[in-house]
């Protein structure tokens, strides 16, 4: 079917739009997410996310409800079951209710948006999802980020600071990456104002319109950057920094958006990088090989790192792991080099 082609990344077994949507909505800690469909879809996705968080030693309670659609709902339409579920969730007085739709309710044509738009006393946001029919993890995540922007209202009060958009809440290094980006921003005298969306309350969402710059986690989220640029007039940088020169470029581009001089920050970061690399002088001259982490060539950041360190690339060298997604900033490279050292000196 060509109408809704599955994204190329679906082979990564990251789940469907529900998993991606949940990875965003469950980070609004006083909100509730409803999965409109069979209870199994909620169970499956909740356990997937729970297992990942447990793996990272950061389990927390996920506030997920299911409309618990059954055969009767499929035959006669599921809007009644959704309404009942929203009513029940609203009684708990959450800051907002997020509604994700499964494959089956999309198939039978429930008007999910119509039900959400009724007056429920709390904001109810329908997130375009449709289970696997709506695409993969990335689509669900992107749609959830854009839809959550609806809670910001139309008034834009620019106050300053940086908004991080679309952090990968399910990745291992999410906090390390946050600290690294914060470190680089601090070199420019800037601070993160809002993590959109990670560990925030519903009342924090309007902050999305107040920062001076949005920094996206990765270029796949450009549609989110565009959406917020159009709605709130906020410019965006399309990725967290990757690689040695990439980190310097990140500083330069951020400074450009903010209209400040990056010279001092760049100098500090260059010194920081030199010092970091000096700590791995023992690796110089090692014969190594690196496999492609994605695509069919090794990432440029890895090639750059290898040559800066004086490692020798050769086909019969010791194979070194490359993480996907690539490490963030200089700090991410340092963590990678520690891993490489363990492999080389094993």
């Amino acid at each position: 079917m060509t109408l809704n082609p599955l994204p190329w990344s679906s082979f990564r077994l990251e789940g469907c739009t529900l998993t991606g949507g949940l990875s965003v909505t469950t980070e609004v800690t006083d909100g509730v997410t409803i999965i409109h469909g069979p209870a199994g879809c909620s169970q499956h996705n909740a356990s997937l996310i729970h297992a990942t968080l447990l793996d990272h030693d950061t389990p927390h309670l996920l506030r997920i409800h299911s409309s618990d659609l059954d055969e009767v709902g499929v035959i006669f339409g599921g809007e009644g079951a959704l309404a009942a579920c929203i009513r029940e969730a609203a009684a708990g007085d959450p800051s907002a209710i997020f509604v994700l739709s499964t494959c089956v309710v999309q198939t039978i044509g429930d008007d999910v948006g119509g039900v959400c738009r009724r007056d429920w006393g709390v904001p109810v946001i329908s997130i375009p999802s449709s289970g696997f029919l709506g695409g993969g993890f990335q689509d669900g995540m992107r749609n959830a980020l854009i839809a959550l922007g609806d809670l910001a209202g139309d008034r834009v009060e620019r106050e300053g600071g940086i908004t991080l958009v679309g952090e990968k809440n399910l990745e291992d290094d999410v906090e390390e990456n946050f600290r690294e980006v914060s470190r680089l921003l601090a070199l420019l005298g800037e601070k993160v104002r809002l993590r959109f969306v990670r560990g925030i309350r519903g009342a924090d969402i309007p902050e999305i319109s107040r920062g001076r710059l949005n920094i996206l986690r990765e270029p796949e989220l450009r549609a989110v950057g565009e959406s917020f640029a159009a709605r709130f007039g906020t410019p965006y940088l399309d990725s967290f920094p990757v690689g040695l020169s990439g980190s310097l470029r990140f500083i330069g581009e951020t400074a450009g958006f903010l209209g400040v001089d990056p010279a001092g920050a760049l100098e500090e970061e260059r010194a920081f990088q030199d010092e970091a690399l000096a700590g791995f002088e023992d690796l110089r001259g090692e014969r190594i090989s690196i496999g492609p982490s994605s695509g069919d060539t090794a990432d440029p950041f890895a090639i750059e790192l290898v040559s800066s360190l004086g490692l020798l690339l050769s086909e019969d060298g010791v194979p070194l792991p490359l993480p996907s997604p690539p490490p963030v900033g200089t700090g991410g490279l340092v963590r990678l080099l520690h891993r490489w050292r363990r492999v080389l000196h094993a």
Partner: protein, 272 residues
């Protein structure tokens, strides 16, 4: 046990034909079960003197499917014909096709699919897989196409041939085309056209039922023609249809026509 299904364009006369066919078979002493597979639930109404019987999916909707008994969904009509209506959602919501599947599962669980003849009357527009249920393995092996000589009606019948050919080609696919039932629209040279169509798809015209105002008069009196006007010529036609169907052994996998062939066939009979 003979299981047959009637398919054809919406409004072409499937339910009228089915009810009269059931009535005629019952008169012959057959134990007949007619199942309306249509949310409109009007298939068996004339056999029930105009009353709307509770549907299978009404019971399911009320959450009673666990405790349901056959007497809550199977009702005896004219000459003891057992009548079942699948029912379904309101237009525009839910999934009626899934409803048909659920109905079949329930009838099977209740062991209600029995008798000398089971007649499935399926809604006109077979829009999704659920409405092909009666043609699946274990249900109606014999499919009859009901059509008039109107091009759109032949077009719909031809489309259903495609479904039959596809299902017949499956492993253990037993469904076959048993014949074409002509139901007149009052068009000139209609019977020869429907007969030619039947031949071209490698089937045959079983009976041509003329258009007759007696059908509406019976309907207004909430009866089948067999009951309302047992001595009418039209009642005779329905009886001979019943006899032909009982004796019919001619089951084929049809060859659907291309749209061009269908149109040029119609051109031969319908003056431009």
């Amino acid at each position: 046990m003979k299981q047959i299904a009637l398919y054809g364009k919406g409004g072409i006369g499937k339910s009228t034909t089915a009810a009269n066919l059931s009535a005629a078979l019952a008169e012959m002493g057959m134990d007949v079960l007619q199942i309306g597979c249509d949310p409109k639930r009007d298939s068996t109404r004339m056999l029930m003197h105009g009353s709307w019987i509770p549907t299978v999916l009404d019971q399911v909707r009320e959450g009673r499917e666990a405790s349901i008994t056959p007497d809550q969904i199977v009702f005896r009509g004219f000459r003891g014909v057992r009548c079942v209506e699948a029912g379904g959602p309101e237009p525009g919501v839910g999934c009626a096709g899934r409803g048909i599947i659920a109905t079949f599962q329930l009838l099977e669980r209740l062991d209600s699919l029995k008798g000398d003849v089971i007649l499935y009357d399926v809604l006109g527009d077979v829009v999704c897989g659920g409405f092909a249920m009666p043609m699946r393995e274990g249900y109606a092996q014999e499919v009859y196409l009901v059509t008039s000589g109107e091009l759109m009606s032949l077009y719909a019948a031809n489309n259903i041939c495609r479904a039959i050919a596809r299902l017949a080609g499956r492993v253990r696919g037993r469904c076959r085309l048993a014949g074409v039932i002509g139901n007149g629209a009052g068009q000139a040279r209609e019977e020869p056209l429907v007969r030619a169509f039947a031949d071209r798809i490698h089937s045959r015209l079983v009976t041509f039922i003329p258009r007759d105002p007696i059908v509406q008069r019976a309907e207004i009196n909430r009866m089948t023609v067999i009951e309302f006007a047992p001595d009418s010529a039209q009642a005779g036609v329905y009886r001979s249809l019943a006899k032909s169907i009982l004796e019919n052994r001619n089951l084929v996998i049809p060859t659907p026509l291309s749209m061009d062939d269908l149109e040029s066939l119609a051109m031969e009979f319908i003056p431009a």
